[in-house]
């Protein structure tokens, strides 16, 4: 796998365009190769070479370390290379000129990701990941303030929107979390119901499954009409912010999407408990409630958390779509970017969304491992 990563990174660092110099933020401009990065190009090439070496090292650990160092190094050096290229290319250009990231940047990042994750399936060292994240953040921070990264078009888009960006990010996180929270609130009891009652099982699993197949935009559109009717009919709901457009239809849709992973994993987790353990528990004089709290839930919890993780990643993505129904979150930036044909504005909405999803994924994986009882760890 390390070899694949190194080859991908090499392709990004040689044949593909690195940056695009444009007269202003909307019109296309001229592509520039990796040479525009100047001396930083050599640093990246050296790190790609290290990635190649990693593929041929003998020891598993040596391979892992070399691959990871190469991956983190490429990401860190790239931020400086970008800054350097922006500095060089923008020298003497009009102030409205922009330098945008080209395909080469994304391909190199993809190569670095493959290099970094190759072999990681064997180690879940949280410390190692934190160190990697810290190195990349320090490099980004440095490149931003000292290396010219702030002149990249993406950063310029951010600067224009700095006043609203953090609010949108906060809203995004709040809406997605509320969806997951409500999904758990309804999903876990529904999953439990599905294990206890055979007729309920068909209905619950069937309906949540069907909801999942409804396209997100269609679901949002469908919710607008009944929610505005409801808001008209019940002033109390209107007072707490329920309208046909805005966050309300978004939250309802997100909750519905969160249901399937949570319900299904709760059901699978609970029904996976050894029937002999249930028989023994009841036979020894546990009440159904005691059995549930002391035996069934502890054993099913890792799977339930796994469902919450799936739901979280799914919802952080879908939340961008709720902007179409009037919710204010990172999706707003994407929609505006689409409307203006401004690719870097789209990125300003998309990149933080991806990062939120990755962060939620790792955090909930860690929670899942932490709640796995020692006796059933593999």
């Amino acid at each position: 796998m390390a070899l694949v990563g190194a080859v991908v990174a090499l392709a990004g660092a040689t044949v593909l365009p690195f940056v695009e110099l444009r007269p202003n933020r909307l019109v296309p401009g001229a592509m520039h190769g990796f040479a525009a990065a100047g001396p930083w190009a050599f640093a990246v090439w050296a790190l790609v070479a290290m990635g190649f070496t990693a593929a041929f090292l003998r020891g598993v650990k040596a391979r892992l370390v070399a691959g990871s160092v190469s991956a983190i190094g490429i990401v860190a050096a790239l931020s400086w290379a970008l800054g350097s290229a922006a500095d060089t290319l923008l020298a003497g250009q009009a102030p409205v000129s922009r330098v945008s990231m080209g395909a080469g940047v994304w391909v190199m990042l993809a190569g670095a990701a493959i290099l970094g994750f190759a072999g990681q399936e064997r180690t879940h060292r949280v410390l190692w990941r934190l160190v990697a994240a810290a190195v990349v953040l320090v490099a980004l921070f440095g490149a931003f303030h000292l290396g010219g990264l702030e002149r990249i078009s993406l950063v310029r888009e951010f600067e224009v929107r700095a006043s609203s960006f953090w609010g949108l990010l906060g809203n995004h996180l709040a809406l997605a979390s509320a969806g997951v929270g409500l999904g758990v609130m309804f999903g876990v009891p529904l999953g439990l119901l599905a294990t206890r009652n055979r007729r309920a099982r068909g209905v619950v699993l069937g309906v949540t499954g069907v909801i999942q197949t409804v396209p997100s935009l269609a679901l949002l559109g469908l919710l607008i009409v009944p929610l505005s009717a409801l808001s008209q009919a019940v002033p109390a709901l209107r007072a707490i912010g329920v309208h046909g457009i805005g966050a309300a239809p978004g939250l309802v849709a997100l909750t519905l999407y969160a249901l399937l992973p949570v319900v299904r994993n709760t059901y699978v987790g609970l029904s996976g408990v050894d029937p002999a353990a249930v028989d023994a528990g009841l036979g020894m004089g546990m009440s159904r409630g005691q059995l549930l709290m002391r035996v069934e839930f502890p054993l099913a919890l890792p799977l339930i958390i796994e469902g919450v993780r799936t739901a979280s990643v799914l919802l952080i993505g879908i939340t961008t779509l709720t902007a179409f129904a009037g919710a204010r979150n990172l999706g707003v930036l994407i929609i505006e970017g689409l409307g203006q044909f401004a690719p870097d504005l789209i990125l300003l909405g998309a990149l933080p969304t991806i990062m939120l999803a990755v962060a939620a994924d790792s955090a909930l994986s860690a929670v899942g491992r932490a709640v796995t009882p020692e006796g059933v760890r593999t």
Partner: protein, 376 residues
């Protein structure tokens, strides 16, 4: 102690248990046996109300079990099942402490009780208390299952084919240990099995069932000597005489053999042997060293050369061994007698073919042709 009065369980048209009545006295082991589907497990599960009877009543110490809250009833009835059902997320000690925790014991008492029970079932507490179920072998897991059922010292144990899933060698060991523990604790035990040998070995009373109906309720000896009908006769099998030997312990029929100390010399050996050919040779502390064959002495071997050394573990049996096991050991070794030794390998007696024959013959006259008609 436990009394079933006309207990019936119907599932729609089908009657799983039909008008079952019997009584088990305190401290007795009652084995429920029969072919699969005969209702034995249903009967057991009605006693702790995992299945509710559709008719009749069950009394424990004179009280109708329906008059107690169901959890309270079950906490007084230890429950062991074939698939064990240990909780995988709890340690061995945690599993044993399930019922004590429900009863609100304090931590120190639960820990002490878990250790005590582990010792009782033959698992050193230091090595086992912190293990998880997945780290146990089948036999060890079932020992923990028994310990868990005994945790709150319930007067009654319900055991549903407890040793059915372990290999034959371990099953025999578990049976022996169960018999030892039962001698110590004198619980009232209802024990379901389909293995007639296990039933004969462990039971004080056997309830043999077929199609939900009781065929015979009797002691193992009674069942072997006077099968009530053809079904029981066939179920017990043609080797009733051999089975009877399961109920006889070596210590019941052993006699004291001729012995001599190893340092006695040829004269001493011949004197001790008298008219017999073989004499057991002992160490000064009474441990079994081997035996001496006077024919070897006659052939001119020296006293030392004539001693056949034996491994006491191989060529002897304990006093609690069943006569059938002793017989099978004799046949395996090709001997007509076998030494009986105690835990310290000291010789305490011997069992011979003729004593086995005598035990087999006992009751033979009772095995007349049973009634051809089925009871029903």
């Amino acid at each position: 102690m436990i009394r079933l009065e006309g207990v019936t369980r119907r599932y729609g048209e089908k009657t799983a248990v039909d008008e079952l009545s019997f009584e088990v006295a305190e401290g007795e082991v009652c084995v429920l046996i029969g072919p699969s589907g005969c209702g034995k497990t249903t009967t057991l599960r009605m006693i702790n109300r995992l299945i509710e009877p559709t008719g009749g009543r069950i009394l424990i110490e004179g009280r109708d079990i329906m008059s107690l809250p169901v959890e309270e009833l079950r906490r007084g009835l230890g429950y062991v099942i074939q698939s064990i059902g240990l909780f995988p997320h709890l340690t061995v000690a945690g599993n044993i402490s399930v019922v004590p925790r429900l009863l609100g014991w304090d931590k120190a008492r639960m820990a002490a009780r878990a250790d005590e029970l582990l010792r009782l079932v033959g698992l050193p507490p230091e090595a086992y208390r912190d293990k998880y179920p997945r780290q146990l072998s089948g036999g060890e897991a079932q020992r923990v299952g028994v310990a868990r059922a005994l945790a709150a010292d319930p007067p009654v144990l319900l055991m549903d084919e407890p040793f059915g899933a372990v290999d034959p060698l371990n099953r025999e060991r578990l049976q022996t240990e169960f018999a030892r523990i039962q001698r110590e604790l004198r619980k009232t035990v209802i024990f379901v099995t389909h293995d007639i040998d296990e039933a004969i070995r462990l039971a004080d009373k056997i309830a043999i069932m077929r199609d939900g109906k009781l065929q015979q309720f009797a002691s193992p000896e009674e069942l072997l000597n006077h099968p009530a009908n053809k079904f029981v006769h066939d179920f017990v099998g043609a080797d009733r005489a051999l089975k009877r030997l399961v109920r006889v312990k070596v210590s019941d029929v052993m006699r004291s053999p001729a012995t001599v100390f190893a340092n006695a010399g040829e004269i001493g050996f011949r004197e001790a042997a008298g008219r017999r050919r073989f004499t057991y040779v002992l160490e000064p502390d009474g441990r079994l060293l081997g035996w001496i064959d006077t024919h070897d002495l006659d052939q001119g071997l020296s006293a030392e050369e004539a001693i056949t050394l034996v491994d006491a573990g191989e060529a002897s049996v304990g006093p609690d061994t069943s006569l059938r096991d002793a017989l099978s050991r004799m046949l395996g070794l090709g001997f007509r007698s076998i030494a009986v030794t105690d835990d310290g390998c000291r010789l305490i007696g011997e069992v011979t073919f003729s004593s086995v024959e005598a035990a087999m013959a006992e009751g033979d006259e009772h095995i007349a042709a049973p009634a051809e008609a089925d009871a029903g």
